[in-house]
């Protein structure tokens, strides 16, 4: 038994029934990190972004396990059931990459397929570029890996206003807008989302302090070449450009945060990649089309560009 596993679920029954996986914990760089680790076989690492947690991948885990994979879904430090450092200055893109790299190293993962969306992209792809020998394939969805912001991220309304000084703590932390409204606005199947998923995202963001990273992550998106994170994002783009790792691009047809040109930019960066494959989905496409996306991932991993099934 993994000594870091928890036998007592920290989740209430109504969330547990939709997320019936063992809660595992590992101390990484001084922080307790929560993760799901199910099945056996080559690992598939599922990486979420802001403001979600591994719950976002609840419908990916059973089919991937059934197909013969070990499925690992961590919560970034600051989110989900992982620790929440209390100060804004405790968070940087580099810290998140270091946490994930250490998590992968501690688990001794090899032949990894990383599936990433939103901040799962810069963090997971950076880990793949740091240790390419450990990675078998990458799957990118609604994310980015370069220093230039999308049009959404460079606009004052609503994005930059949301996390502007003084406005940010009010909207993100006192009013919890990303969970209470942002998620809803960023899915296609909204009624289903309200019924199935919103309670789980609310559950892990119940107070002011627990919501800190929801407003810090937006500030880590570089807008100018000398912004925080810009140098790391430049390194990431350069590293990916030379990468031969098999890749799949899956994108939401209704995505506005990282619009279609971002999918095309990944295709330019990784010309050998399969895709983009377009699915019904806004920013949180895992909520909208989990079965279809899993089908694409399995087809890719079974095909010549993704390697064979374990």
């Amino acid at each position: 038994m993994n000594p870091d596993s928890s036998l007592v679920s920290p989740l209430p029954p109504e969330i547990r029934k939709r997320f019936p996986f063992a809660n595992r914990f590992m101390r990484v760089n001084g922080h307790r990190m929560h993760y799901v680790d199910e099945g056996e076989g080559d690992p598939v690492l599922l990486l979420h972004g802001n403001p979600t947690w591994s719950f976002l991948y609840r419908k990916f885990i059973p089919p991937l396990v059934a197909a013969g994979f070990r499925v690992i879904a961590p919560d970034h430090v600051g989110f989900g059931l992982s620790d929440r450092p209390a100060r804004e200055h405790d968070y940087s893109l580099e810290d998140h990459i270091a946490n994930l790299a250490e998590f992968i190293r501690r688990l001794g993962l090899q032949h990894v397929t990383v599936v990433c969306q939103d901040w799962g992209g810069p963090t997971g792809l950076a880990c793949a570029m740091l240790d390419p020998a450990a990675f078998k394939a990458i799957v990118v969805m609604n994310t980015w890996a370069w220093p230039e912001p999308s049009g959404f991220h460079s606009s004052v309304f609503p994005w930059r206003m949301m996390h502007a000084p003084v406005v940010g703590p009010y909207l993100f932390q006192r009013r919890n807008i990303l969970v209470e409204r942002g998620l809803y606005l960023s899915v296609v199947h909204r009624e289903r989302f309200l019924e199935e998923a919103l309670p789980a995202y609310r559950f892990v963001m119940q107070d002011y302090d627990s919501r800190l990273l929801t407003r810090v992550f937006p500030r880590l998106i570089p807008l100018r070449s000398d912004d925080r994170s810009a140098a790391t994002m430049r390194w990431l783009e350069q590293s990916l450009r030379g990468s031969k790792v098999p890749a799949l691009i899956v994108w939401g047809k209704e995505e506005i945060v990282f619009p279609a040109e971002c999918a095309q930019r990944f295709k330019t960066l990784l010309p050998h990649a399969k895709g983009p494959l377009w699915v019904t989905g806004s920013h949180f496409l895992q909520e909208d089309s989990p079965e279809e996306i899993c089908g694409h991932i399995l087809d890719f991993l079974r095909g010549p560009r993704g390697g064979s099934l374990p």
Binding site: P158, M161, P165, Y170
Partner: protein, 133 residues
């Protein structure tokens, strides 16, 4: 919006305690916000070393303390903490405080100016269902 900057002698709340509302640790994320606050509260760098907090009164009559934070390597003030002045042992009404702070944001944004417009703030508030937007 009716936010009134007041001095310590103008505080009407009697026998108050101060209750945490929120902290902004990176005023310099967009420096115009730091400059607007320093201007409105008459801050000079000397305030970084033991200077007095600022205060404001909202249209509701509730009063707030603004503590200016300093961090090595960052221009003063590097951040602010807003605390509500709550009489005696009275309970706190978070929604009433949030209504006041929204008005404070409406007061602040035009002082920052440039691309930071009241219209953009209100539109953002409406999209995200802020009741007072």
């Amino acid at each position: 919006m009716n936010i009134e900057i007041i001095g310590p002698a103008d505080i009407r709340t009697e026998k108050y305690r101060t209750v945490f509302v929120m902290t902004e640790e990176r005023l310099g994320h967009y420096p115009g916000f730091r400059e607007a606050l320093a201007d409105a509260f008459g801050l000079v760098p000397a305030h970084a070393d033991g200077g007095a907090p600022g205060y404001f009164r909202a249209a509701s009559g509730r009063e707030y303390e603004v503590i200016f934070l300093s961090r090595s390597g960052h221009r003063f003030p590097s951040g602010i903490e807003i605390r509500a002045l709550v009489p005696g042992f009275d309970p706190v009404d978070p929604d009433a405080i949030d209504a006041d702070i929204w008005r404070f944001l409406e007061w602040l944004i035009p002082r920052v100016g440039g691309e930071w417009t009241l219209e953009a703030l209100k539109s953002t508030g409406k999209v995200y269902k802020i009741p007072w937007a």
